[in-house]
Amino acid sequence: MTTKVSVGLVAAICLLALAVPLLHLQDPTVGSLGQRLLPPGTPGHPLGTDGQGRDLLSRLLWGLRPSLLSGLLPVGVAALAGGTLGLVAGLTTHWLHDVVMRTLDVFYAFPAVLLAIAIAAALGSGLSNAVIALSIILVPPVARIAETEAARLRGADFMLAARASGAGWPAIVVRQVLPNVAPGIVVYCSSLIGLSIIYAAGLSFLGLGIAPPSAELGLMVNDLRQFIFNDPVLLLEPAALILVVAVVFNVAGDSLRGLLDHRMEVS
């Protein structure tokens, strides 16, 4: 039951983000200074306004979009790149495997956020650079999972049978390996989405993501920090939204993982 609820919530959030341009919201980037820091509940601005007089409800909803994008896109890229890397490493036994795994070890030596910061800082601010940085730091964990799954299969009997029958590697990979490792990798990646969203908002918080005056949840948290003594509620709004989105994605990822473990136990 929890699975259906959480996955449903995930879908709802994504649909909401997609539908934002269709809702008639106020312009998220324009505000009037006479209207700054209005409390939530003010007519016309149900969630209040920020330090520049911009409507918060609109900014929250519009800010959801780049946040989700920088959560989903890096995971997708990492799934492809890391998955391929891990599969190759897992299916070979010679030097290629060792080289790949030791290189991954080096990346694991970095506290993840710091590496993302270093890369994003070097590349310059902006949404696409943030996505690149996040993709890079997500590749090692995905690659490691893919390698473990592939290595598990490598010695399996049906693999030996396929090789003995003369099938070439591409055919084996597509027909034998992928269907067996894909579920595990997909489920693991789904649990990475929540993390990626948090990291992305974090990078924006530090000034490394999408640039103002665009709306982005992490950016909003940083903007509103200076007004914490004036009206703390305003600041808590984007903070709470990030938390809710992260929890929903994490719970969905967890229950998907639980489902997969169950199925593997039964079989």
Partner: protein, 314 residues
């Protein structure tokens, strides 16, 4: 044990080299022509050529890396553009403050995580256990800047219980008690996510050990429950060590946000200000030092693990 140490230390050195290589490569990621940026739009081709030669940017990449490594080994971490002083002089003191904060947060995270995990494992179906599970789930998902902000609102804004930032009061501060007051909020904030993770892992590790046959055997020998519990904890230590080591890595990275929100003068805050100042050498130096510390901490954790669990040494 000696053989294990030798292998592990060799591996550590190799990883440290790899880390320095990665950091070196990120400096090469910067788009555009660094020399042109440094000299401005009115530089001539000759000026640029001379600076390129002076900075050694015309040499092949491997050679540049080796010279980078060489300066690194001499303690030279580059030069801060914004401050016009050696980066080491800025980065290292800040790092000391970060170690203080991370150390405090680490202690809180491990102590809290062990306590919560033990309660959840040993009193399985009680209200306490279910509460702990729920708290762990939320705390794992909570981004630190969110938690930081919430705690500040609660403890510094709505009530005036604790200071909202800094390492010591600007007026009449600096003593141990003062620092202790200041370290509380940021420390707890930084510890929250690791604590949730450690609690979850320790609980499942305890349950796993409890289901093993030797626990039944120990009870069968008539050993008192306290002794049996002691041995159960002993057997859960290895996985606790491993998790804690990983969480330290998380802490070293995550302090960026915590220090920024609480204006704790550590490496994280330094990196934050360096981002807005575009002081790349300081950022690179900070990331390098953090990664080095993480690798060394992991070495210590692995060594302790091998000391406790003889199967690892094989």
């Amino acid at each position: 044990m000696i053989r294990f140490l030798v292998r592990r230390v060799t591996l550590t050195v190799l990883i440290l080299l790899g880390v320095s290589l990665v950091v070196f490569l990120t400096t090469k990621l910067i788009p555009g022509d660094p020399v042109a940026t440094l000299l401005g739009p009115y530089s001539t081709a000759e000026d640029r050529a001379r600076l390129v030669a002076a900075l050694g940017l015309n040499r092949p990449l491997p050679v540049q890396y080796v010279s980078y490594l060489w300066t690194l080994l001499h303690g030279d971490l580059g030069r801060s553009i914004a401050r016009q002083q050696p980066a080491a002089g800025v980065v290292l003191p800040a790092f000391a403050n970060t170690l203080l904060l991370s150390g405090f947060a680490g202690v809180v995270a491990v102590a809290g995580g062990v306590a919560l995990g033990a309660v959840a494992a040993l009193r399985r179906n009680s209200v306490a256990a279910r509460l702990v599970t729920a708290v762990s789930l939320v705390s794992v998902s909570a981004p630190q800047y969110v938690v930081a902000v919430a705690l500040i609102v609660l403890f510094a804004v709505q009530t005036r219980l604790l200071p909202p930032g800094g390492i010591s009061s600007t007026i009449g501060g600096g003593g141990l008690g003062d620092v202790a007051q200041h370290i509380l909020l940021p420390g707890v904030t930084a510890a929250l996510v690791p604590m949730g993770i450690i609690a979850r892992m320790f609980r499942s590790s305890l349950l796993d050990v409890l289901s093993q046959d030797f626990v039944v055997a120990l009870r069968g020998h008539g050993l008192p429950p306290r002794t049996v519990l002691l041995h159960v904890f002993h057997n859960s230590l290895p996985s606790l060590l491993t998790i804690s080591g990983l969480q330290v890595g998380y802490l070293l990275g995550g302090v960026v946000f915590v220090e920024t929100v609480f204006t704790w003068p550590g490496l994280g805050l330094l990196i934050f200000t360096s981002i807005s100042e575009r002081d790349l050498p300081v950022i690179e130096a900070g990331v390098l030092i953090s990664a080095f510390a993480f690798v060394l901490i992991n070495l210590a954790v692995d060594t302790a693990h091998a000391a406790i669990d003889p199967r690892v040494r094989a």
